[in-house]
C-alpha cells in the first residue's frame, strides 16, 4: 500500500467525517455574553457571530474541523501535513481574540457558510508601524508590515485592526440554487457587519489576503475603500498546513489587502442595505441595489 493512497483515504475520511458532524446545539451552548449577532429565519437558517471564548471546546473543534475539511476539499490545505500530523481540525491559531460568523442549517446542525475575524496578538494595543507589534497572519505570509505601505488614520492602534480569514462555504452543498447561495452570502454579510458594529474598541481596519477575482472581488461588493498590495511573494513553508494556498499551480496570485471599515452611520447604512436586499423577493435585485450604493475606491500599492 502506498503512502499516497493511505493519505488520500485519510483526507476523504476527514472530509466525510465533517460532512456528518452536527452542531445542532450550538446556539444553546454558547455563552450569551459572547454572542455579537444572532438571526433565526423561518426556514431554519441560523446566522450567528460569536466570540471564540464563549464557545465550548467541543463546538470549537467542530468549527475548526469544518474549516479543515473545506480547505482540504478546495486543496488550499496540505493533505500531506493533515495526514502526517493526524489533523481532524485546523489547529487553533493562538490569536488573542477571534470572532466566528456562521450560517447554520439549524435542523441538521451543519455549517453552510463561515468566515472568521481574528484580532491582534499584541498583549497591549500598539501602533501599526511599531516594529515590535505582533504581525497578522497575512503579514507573515507576505513577509511585510502592511502599514509600512498603507497609511491609516492617526490614533488607530492594533486593537482596532482585525484580519478576515477562512471565508468558506460547505462544498458538499455547492450545487444548490443561485438565489439560495446569494441569500446565504447576504445573511453572512449581515452577520459579519453587525458583529463588526458591536466590537469594542471599534474595528477601523480589516486586513487579509485573497485571490483578486475571488475573495477581494467579494469584499468589493460591500467595502470599497480597499488597498491591494501588489508585488509580494506570499509563501509558507512546506510543513505548514496552509502551504498549498500559496502554491500557484492553477489559481490566481493571492494578494494582501487593507480595508477601511465604515464607521457609525455609514456602517449602520450598510447593514440596512443588506436587510433591504434580503427582504426583496428577488435578492439579486436587492443585491445589485446594495452594490450600487456602496461608496469608496480601490487603490493599489506596488512594492
Amino acid at each position: 500500500m502506498t503512502v499516497a493512497e493511505r493519505r488520500r483515504r485519510y483526507v476523504s475520511d476527514v472530509i466525510a467525517l465533517h460532512d456528518r458532524i452536527s452542531l445542532r446545539g450550538f446556539a444553546s451552548q454558547v455563552s450569551s455574553d459572547s454572542v455579537l449577532y444572532r438571526a433565526r429565519r423561518p426556514d431554519g437558517l441560523l446566522v450567528m457571530a460569536v466570540r471564540n471564548d464563549g464557545i465550548p471546546d467541543r463546538y470549537l473543534l467542530g468549527i475548526h474541523g469544518f474549516r479543515l475539511a473545506e480547505y482540504l476539499r478546495l486543496r488550499f490545505a496540505s493533505d500531506e501535513v493533515a495526514f502526517d500530523r493526524a489533523l481532524f481540525a485546523e489547529p487553533a491559531g493562538g490569536h488573542a481574540d477571534e470572532i466566528h460568523v456562521l450560517a447554520l442549517d439549524e435542523e441538521s446542525g451543519t455549517i453552510l457558510r463561515y468566515v472568521s475575524l481574528v484580532g491582534s496578538a499584541d498583549p497591549v494595543p500598539m501602533a501599526p508601524r511599531d516594529p515590535d507589534r505582533a504581525p497578522f497572519p497575512s503579514e507573515v505570509v507576505h513577509g511585510i508590515n502592511l502599514f509600512d505601505h498603507v497609511d491609516v488614520d492617526p490614533g488607530i492602534d492594533t486593537s482596532q485592526i482585525w484580519e478576515i480569514k477562512r471565508l468558506v462555504h460547505r462544498g458538499s452543498r455547492a450545487g444548490s440554487d443561485l438565489v439560495g447561495r446569494l441569500r446565504l452570502t447576504l445573511e453572512l454579510m449581515l452577520g459579519f457587519y453587525t458583529a463588526l458594529s458591536r466590537v469594542e474598541p471599534p474595528v477601523r481596519i480589516i486586513v487579509g489576503d485573497g485571490e483578486e477575482r475571488v475573495s477581494i472581488a467579494r469584499l468589493l461588493r460591500s467595502l470599497r475603500d480597499i488597498t491591494v498590495i501588489e508585488g509580494t511573494t506570499p509563501s509558507l513553508p512546506k510543513d505548514d498546513l496552509m502551504y498549498p494556498r500559496y502554491a500557484y499551480a492553477s489559481r490566481d496570485v493571492v494578494k494582501a489587502f487593507v480595508v477601511k471599515v465604515p464607521q457609525g452611520e455609514e456602517l449602520r447604512q450598510l447593514s440596512e442595505h443588506l436587510r433591504r436586499a434580503l427582504a426583496n423577493p428577488n435578492p439579486l435585485v436587492g443585491f445589485k441595489e446594495l452594490v450600487s450604493q456602496v461608496g469608496g475606491q480601490l487603490r493599489r500599492v506596488h512594492i
Binding site: M1, T2, V14, I21, D57, R58, L61
Partner: protein, 417 residues
C-alpha cells in the same frame, strides 16, 4: 394495582452519603467525577426512569434513540474520550461511576453507553493518531453515534476470553490480507449495539494461524459492503440495548484500520477486558443498588405486626447484608478502576475480583429485594423483577464466573498480573 413506592434519594447506600464529610472514606473521588456522578444521577432520575417500563416491554428490536440523544447531550458517549478530541476525559473510574448511576435505574440503558465506550477503547488504545482522528471526532457532534465491540462467536465464546485457550478455539472469524485491505469472514454473536452502531472493533484470526493464535483487531465501519446485521436477540433482560449477530462476508477493511498490528490482539483484549470488567462490576453494583433502594423504601413503609418491616429482625438482617454487599462491591470496582487507569501492564486480578463479586451480589440483592416485596416483587410495575432479570445478564457478558475464576487464580499463582 398501583404502586405506593416512590423514589427516595436519601438511602444508607447512597453514593453521595458515602463521600459526605460525615462518612469519611479512604477513597475520595476527583471533583470532576463527583460532579459527573451528580449529573448522571439526575439524568437517570429525570430522563431514564420515566422510560424504563416502556423500553422493557417494547419489542426486542425497538431502540430508544431519544434516550441516547439525551445521554449524548450530557456527554455519556464521550466519557473516556480525551478532552483534546472534545470528550470528557474522565477515565475508567469516572466511566464506572457514571454507569453505576445509570444501572441503578436501568442496566440496559447503561450498557448502550458502556458498549460504545468499550468499542472506543480499540481506537483510543491503538496509539494510532490517524485512526483516532478518523473515528473519535464523530462523537463530538450533536448527533449521537454508537460503537460496539465484537468478540463473541457461535462456537468460540470463552475461548476468545481465556488466552490459554487460544490454540483450541475453533471456527474463529478470519482475516486475510489482500493488498492494502484485509478481507474479513465470519459471524459474531450477541453483539451489544451491533444493530445500531456506526462501527465496531472486530476481533478476527489472521489467516494461517491456528485457533485464535493470530487474533487481530480491526475497526470496521458497519455500513461497508459485506457486513450485515442479523436479527436482534430476544433477551429476558437488558431489553433496551440490542444484542445482534454481525455477519462478515468478504468484508474489505482498509489496512490502516488495523489496531496495534497483526496478531497483537490478545494483549489488547486483556487490557480491554480489564477495563470492561470494571465497568460491568459498576453496572452490577448499580443493579443491586436499584433493587435495594426499592426494598428499603418498602420496608420503611410496610407495616406488619404493628411495626415497619425494617423493625423486624429478619428483615433488618437482610437489609444490613444487602447494603454491606453493595458498599463492598463499590469499593472493589473503584479500586479496580484506579488500578486499570494507573498500572502497566493492565491488571487482571482487581477487575476480575470486582466483577466476580459484583455479579454475584447483584443476583443475591435483587433476589432478596424481590422476596421482601412479596407479590409486588413479582409484578412488573414495581420494578424489582426487572432488576432480578438484569442481574443475571452481567454474569454472562465480559467474562462468566468460570472465566473470571481462571483469571483470578492465574493471578494468584503468578501467571498474570
Amino acid at each position: 394495582m398501583t404502586s405506593t413506592i416512590t423514589p427516595n434519594p436519601a438511602t444508607l447506600s447512597d453514593f453521595g452519603a458515602l463521600t459526605a464529610a460525615a462518612m469519611p472514606s479512604f477513597f475520595s473521588l476527583p471533583p470532576e467525577v463527583e460532579a459527573l456522578r451528580d449529573e448522571v444521577r439526575e439524568f437517570a432520575r429525570t430522563v431514564v426512569k420515566p422510560r424504563v417500563l416502556d423500553n422493557d416491554l417494547a419489542a426486542a428490536d425497538d431502540f430508544d434513540w431519544e434516550i441516547v440523544r439525551k445521554g449524548h447531550e450530557l456527554g455519556l458517549l464521550r466519557l473516556t474520550i480525551p478532552t483534546e478530541f472534545g470528550g470528557r476525559g474522565v477515565g475508567a473510574v469516572g466511566a464506572a461511576v457514571a454507569l453505576e448511576e445509570l444501572a441503578a435505574v436501568c442496566a440496559s440503558t447503561a450498557l448502550i453507553f458502556g458498549a460504545t465506550i468499550l468499542g472506543q477503547t480499540g481506537v483510543l488504545a491503538s496509539g494510532d493518531p490517524n485512526l483516532q482522528a478518523r473515528f473519535i471526532p464523530q462523537f463530538l457532534g450533536d448527533e449521537p453515534v454508537l460503537a460496539c465491540n465484537a468478540v463473541t462467536e457461535e462456537v468460540a465464546g470463552c475461548d476468545l476470553l481465556i488466552p490459554e485457550n487460544s490454540a483450541h478455539a475453533t471456527d474463529v472469524m478470519t482475516a486475510r490480507r489482500d493488498g492494502d485491505h484485509y478481507v474479513l469472514n465470519g459471524v459474531k454473536r450477541f453483539i451489544t449495539n451491533g444493530k445500531v452502531a456506526a462501527w465496531s472493533c472486530v476481533f478476527a484470526n489472521l489467516d494461517g494461524h491456528q485457533g485464535a493464535d493470530g487474533l487481530t483487531a480491526f475497526i470496521v465501519p458497519l455500513d461497508i459492503a459485506g457486513v450485515s446485521r442479523g436479527a436482534v436477540a430476544d433477551k429476558m433482560g437488558y431489553r433496551a440495548c440490542l444484542g445482534t449477530t454481525l455477519t462478515f462476508d468478504d468484508a474489505r477493511v482498509p489496512a490502516e484500520n488495523l489496531v496495534l498490528g497483526e496478531g497483537n490482539a490478545w494483549g489488547f483484549l486483556t487490557m480491554q477486558s480489564n477495563l470492561a470488567r470494571v465497568s460491568v462490576a459498576a453496572i452490577s453494583t448499580g443493579v443491586a443498588r436499584g433493587a435495594f433502594e426499592i426494598a428499603k423504601q418498602w420496608c420503611g413503609e410496610r407495616v406488619q405486626g404493628g411495626v415497619p418491616l425494617y423493625r423486624h429482625q429478619f428483615s433488618a438482617r437482610k437489609l444490613a447484608e444487602m447494603t454491606a454487599k453493595i458498599d463492598a462491591s463499590r469499593l472493589l470496582y473503584l479500586q479496580a478502576g484506579y488500578q486499570a487507569e494507573n498500572m502497566l501492564p493492565a491488571p487482571t486480578y482487581g477487575p476480575a475480583v470486582a466483577k466476580l463479586f459484583a455479579d454475584r451480589i447483584a443476583i443475591e440483592v435483587a433476589d432478596e429485594a424481590m422476596s421482601m416485596l412479596g407479590a409486588r416483587g413479582y409484578c412488573r410495575e414495581y420494578g424489582v423483577e426487572k432488576f432480578v432479570r438484569e442481574s443475571f445478564g452481567a454474569r454472562i457478558y465480559e467474562g462468566t464466573p468460570e472465566v473470571l475464576a481462571l483469571a483470578v487464580t492465574d493471578a494468584l499463582y503468578g501467571h498474570r498480573p
